[in-house]
Amino acid sequence: MRDFPGVRRMFRLATGRGALRQAIDEELAFHLETTAEELVAEGMNPTEARAEAQRRFGNLGRRRAELLAVDGARDARDRWSERFAALRQDIGFALRGVRRNPGFALLVALTLGLGVGVNAAMLGILNHLFFEPPAHIADSERVRKVYFVGASSSNWSDIHDLVAAHSFSGISAYAPVELTYGTGERTTKLHAQIVSPTFFSLLGAPMFSGRPLIPADDSLPRTGSAAVVSYGFWRRQLGGDPHVLGRVLDIGEGHYTVIGVATEGFTGAEQNAADVWLPLRGAAAEVEGGDWEHSRGYYWLVGLARLKPGVTTETGESEATRLHRRAREGTKDDDHVRHVTLASLIEARGPGRPREATVYVWVAGVSLIVLIIAGANVANLLLLRAMRRRRETAVRLALGISRARLVGHLLAESVVLALLGAAGALVLGAVGGQFFHRLMLDGNSTFTLGLDRTTIVLTITLALVAGIAAGLAPAALESRPDLTRSLRSSGASGRRSALQSALLILQATLSVILLVGAGLFVQSLRAVRGLDLGMSTSNVLLVQPEFASTMTPARQSLFLDDGIERIRHLAGVQDVAVSGSIPFWSSYAIDLSVPGLDSIPSPKDGGPYVNAVTPAFLSTMGMTLARGRWFREQDGRGAPAVTVIGEAMAALLWPGQNALGKCMKIGGDTMPCSEVIGIVRDPRRQNLFEERTVQYYVPKAQRWNDDYQAAFFVRTTGRPETLAAPVQRALHVASAEVRYIETRPLQDLIEPQLRAWSLGATLFTLFGGLALLVAAVGLYSIMSFEVTRRSRELGIRSALGASARTILALVLGDGLRLVSLGIILGVALTLLVAPAGATLLYGVSPREPMVYVLAAGVLLVAALVAGIFPAVRASRVDPNQTLRAE
């Protein structure tokens, strides 16, 4: 009996506490009265008969309570199994629906999957950027990065001043550096962090094996110094060697003994991976030179402070600021603007927040729009199906199915579709994750967009929320249909609801926002890429040799000259030059005096910067000579000293005069005159958006010293990467004193500065494209349905003499009207919102009309394409057929 849910109700048996009690009472009353009647029939008087019946029955009150308890338990159990059976039925119903119409299910799963997948990915990235501190740091909220005057890099002296602060339980410092690993041909680079002795104790991270660096390690001489390796480095590079402790590694020019392996996932205080940790005293001299401990002029170390329990960041900051100002008193940097900031280890939440982080927040908002569009589309598809099923639903309602059960069916369907969407999202995530990762994050980032638990939970939750939200609209519509009308009419019926039109308009509106965003970012990217850098950075390979410290400047210089000859003859090389500094990377300044000027006015961005180059530099870098001449081979040692200056320098030193022929004493006023022989257009020095930097050039043959950061620049005919290997081979044989040769396209140095825009352009375009596709599919489905629904009306029109063209225009016009309304709303909305994102744009107004026109045009074309097929089908309707079909 209990196998069949609802049967108790069907046979009007009691359920519910009150009804149960009533039934028991009725049953017992029947028993007692029948017994009494029988006794009376046997001749007992009625009063005695009732008493005898009661006696035979026993304790009536206790029995009633007992029966009620038994029945109550049964009733509760039946209700649960009824509910469960209903659920099973709903799910079975939903699954049958999927099987019956797999195309529909696939469309919903894909649409939802796109929307959800994109959001899960973005939320994952935001979570990583904004909420995940570096792993394995004890009580990481108390560990703060020390910023001096808004910059995270500082020096040992400034950080050391803070040791006296009462607010901190510890002070430490580290510098992330790239060092060579190994020797000879097999040398590679690794990411090292050179750390002060208290680094590990301050962070309080556990070790995988061995011990962390302790103050005793810092006093050792460099040879035989200690190193902690990361878990990842140990697995990848050291083969997971169980006897790794005590192994000696060649890092940079030193030898380090492995004393410990850090716990898996530990990256120090950075969100980027590190391979090894080296003691400051052992490694700093190689990286920063001998005077690193006392100089306040270099900025290379990051300070860390751990706040004592109960001490607020503000208290710590004001004490640190006081100490810092006192220490700087009397130096030339003694001024009251100096202050110390204690920032979160999470970079995006500190003053060092990269521009990309802001872009991510916007993109996350954009991905939410994609989800809304996808959700609206799914809702629309479900609505369409609900309308197609109207008759079926009406029949079921007429047969007495409860509305609650009907809504239950629909929700179960939504859940099943949502789970399909989640599956779609996970598949897309697995496929697209790598793409997103490469696009969005630093190659060295520890973040991986994998199928971890958070992502899966997030994906399923999002899919369920979106799926159920999308399912609610049709559920509301479907549970309240007009029974008689639906039953009488045949097949698909019902007008397109206002809700459907609204959903369609919403999709168009949001698509406009995305398309305009895409247009603005693409324009910005083009503007940034089109910036006149004063040089041409594409097709240039940057080659940086790393010299052994034993190599004298003279031998270095010989190697460079020799290298030019070796590279010049390689296939695919158009030009090659040597330079003493690298654009977007390094610059160099020395004393300079100019006869006739008391002092050189100091430019805002520093300088004047000097660079020593070989004659081919101008053509290799694609720079432009404005006046005079450039260096020639003849401007060598012994020839008259010459210099070429930038336009900004000419304007600074000799405003309104002819700079050519002037004298500059490079290196100080005791030096001989160098004659200005030419003026070039200023190339960028460090930043795409800097003001024109004051800089000048000297021939390498005339002035070279080992303070320069020597590099070859190779202009290639093809892709610069292809020459990396040949160049390395050619240079390696040239000298055994060159420890490592790093090659990369010069463009790679600029790319990080472009990332915010390329990111915005790519993601907005991608999302805009997806939104467009989804909206077009939505429009197509709705119009197809409309044509089917109106086939009778269209047939009549056609029979009455409407031409195919009239009908085509009629149907198409209907769809386009909605889209146009959406476009108008979208444009208006975007005009309002866009200025808020103006800081992310470059060289384009957030209200650039062309972009808006283009976005509207693209959307209209998409709507036309989506609408033309149903419209053509409508125009071919045969009135004979449709009218007879009714």
Binding site: M1, R2, F11, R12, L13, A23, E26, E27, L28, F30, H31, E33, T34, T35, E37, R56, F57, G58, N59, L60, R62, R63, E66, L67, V70, D71, A73, R74, R77
Partner: protein, 114 residues
Amino acid sequence: MNAPDLELLQGTLDVLVLKALVFGPRHGYAVARWIRQAADESLQIEEGALYTALHRMEKRGWLGATWGLSENNRRAKYYQLTAQGRKQLEQRTRLWTSYAEAVFKVLRAAEDSA
């Protein structure tokens, strides 16, 4: 009375009630009357306990219940065996017979040796 005895008694009542329903649907009063007559009035059963047994077996799914009209034209709750109840009756009948036979054997053996 201790627990095993009570258990035994309840089990006994169950099997009697099931047996009473073998001949078709009956209401509680009819079940009580049939047992009384079948046992020739030799079993003293508290009729209330009968109802507890009926309801419990309904809960277990051995009995089904419907409301119907009695011989004297009143609404009464009729019980009938389900397939499960029929199986229970067979099992318990077998169990009871072999149990009674065993006890009987022991008692007779005691008589012989005495």
